[in-house]
């Protein structure tokens, strides 16, 4: 017999029944990807933003070995037209701060032979526009950098069922990259 546990249930039980206290609702892992060979993109399907409201991504990405880095962008519902998205970023490197708005769904990036660790929150606002916030740690040691981005989609949607993380360079998601997607499990 399978029993769903409830937050309010108490550790313990009687007879052969075991009732366990735990987290029933919260940030639940939807899926994870460990990249075993270089690829162009990662898709997450069968999502439901109307049901879950919020999603969260954790990404540890690296471009494949070589002299070319890659940017990584975030698309929804298979709309891969970059100009349908905007993002605003704040970039900090040493004593430099740069701000810019771009007509693209930039998520994060890594230069050649380097890596990035990024977290990203996503939601659909009350008028149906996809929005995200990303927090980027990239480069290492004396070139350590941070970026924060806010982005959105220019078309109102009735729901979001897919997201794609796409490299701007061919095969730009290198082997060893890891991505985990969490949903806000509400019910």
């Amino acid at each position: 017999m399978v029993s769903l546990f409830l937050i309010s249930q108490v550790i313990g039980g009687s007879g052969t029944t075991t009732v366990i206290q735990g987290v029933e609702y919260g940030w639940e892992k939807v899926d994870e990807v460990l990249v075993d060979s270089d690829r162009d993109y990662i898709d997450f399907n069968d999502l439901d933003f109307n049901r879950d409201w919020f999603y969260m991504l954790w990404l540890a990405l690296k471009p494949p070995p070589g002299d070319i880095g890659s940017g990584y962008q975030l698309f929804v519902n298979n709309d891969l037209t970059k100009t349908n998205y905007y993002c605003q970023y704040l970039y900090s490197s040493g004593t430099s701060i740069v701000a810019e708005r771009r007509n693209a769904p930039d998520l994060c990036g890594a230069t050649a032979n380097d890596r990035t660790f990024t977290t990203c929150f996503m939601g659909m606002d009350p008028d149906g526009y996809f929005r995200y916030l990303s927090f980027v740690n990239r480069h290492t040691a004396t070139t350590q950098e941070l970026l924060v981005r806010a982005g959105s989609y220019t078309i109102s949607l009735s729901n979001i069922s897919t997201i794609r993380i796409a490299a701007t360079q061919s095969n730009g998601i290198g082997a060893g990259s890891k991505v985990a997607l969490f949903r806000c499990k509400r019910t």
Binding site: V2, S14, T17, V23, A99, Y129, A150, T154
Partner: protein, 187 residues
């Protein structure tokens, strides 16, 4: 009565009348959520216990249905006197970065008829001061903006049991706005 501690690797099901449940014992638990059905001035989360939970995380999508630019402020313990709080912000608009300190706890803003998406971390520091850090995705399209805000309350509290978000415009939290509060379930 036996006490049974479950582990995430365990599998739903069991033999005989035994029930073994797969799940998460500790972590970010969805504690409360609010979906706004009609325009309101404020929303509140009550029955909190930050001494037990240590940290809260609030995700929000807000619609401003009014004709005025609106500030959304985060208050604790029923203290809604804005001047009892301060926050420092960094607002990023295209290539411009503006920063300042203000004598209020604004955590999100939204333009007239516009929407915002935000992630807010909440804590009480070791000396009892409420602190928050918000990252807010504001405006959209070719005006996409990003604002970081770090704030605190000038007075201490022995616990935080209530958190409210208050609009400075009447009816400024529009129908369709959504809030999810996560607690750090430690025990």
């Amino acid at each position: 009565m036996s006490i049974y501690i479950f582990r995430p690797s365990e599998v739903s099901g069991g033999g005989g009348g035994e029930t073994i449940i797969q799940g998460i014992q500790y972590g970010w638990e969805k504690y409360k959520e609010i979906q706004v059905a009609s325009d309101v001035d404020s929303i509140a989360f009550t029955d909190l216990d930050i001494n037990t939970d240590l940290f809260y995380h609030l995700m929000a999508v807000i619609k401003n249905p009014t004709g005025s630019y609106t500030h959304y402020r985060i208050f604790v313990e029923g203290d809604v006197t804005a001047s009892n709080y301060y926050h420092q912000y960094l607002a990023v608009d295209s290539t411009s970065v503006a920063t300042n300190r203000a004598n209020n706890p604004t955590c999100i803003c939204a333009g007239a008829g516009d929407r915002s998406f935000a992630s807010i971390y909440i804590s009480k520091d070791p000396d009892g001061y409420f602190r928050f850090f918000s990252t807010s995705n504001e405006w959209g399209g070719s005006g996409q903006g990003l604002v970081l805000r770090s704030g605190s309350r000038a007075g201490t509290a022995s616990n935080i049991t209530q958190i409210s978000i208050v609009s400075d415009t009447a009816g400024g939290i529009g129908a369709g706005s959504k809030f999810v509060l996560f607690r750090y379930k430690r025990t």
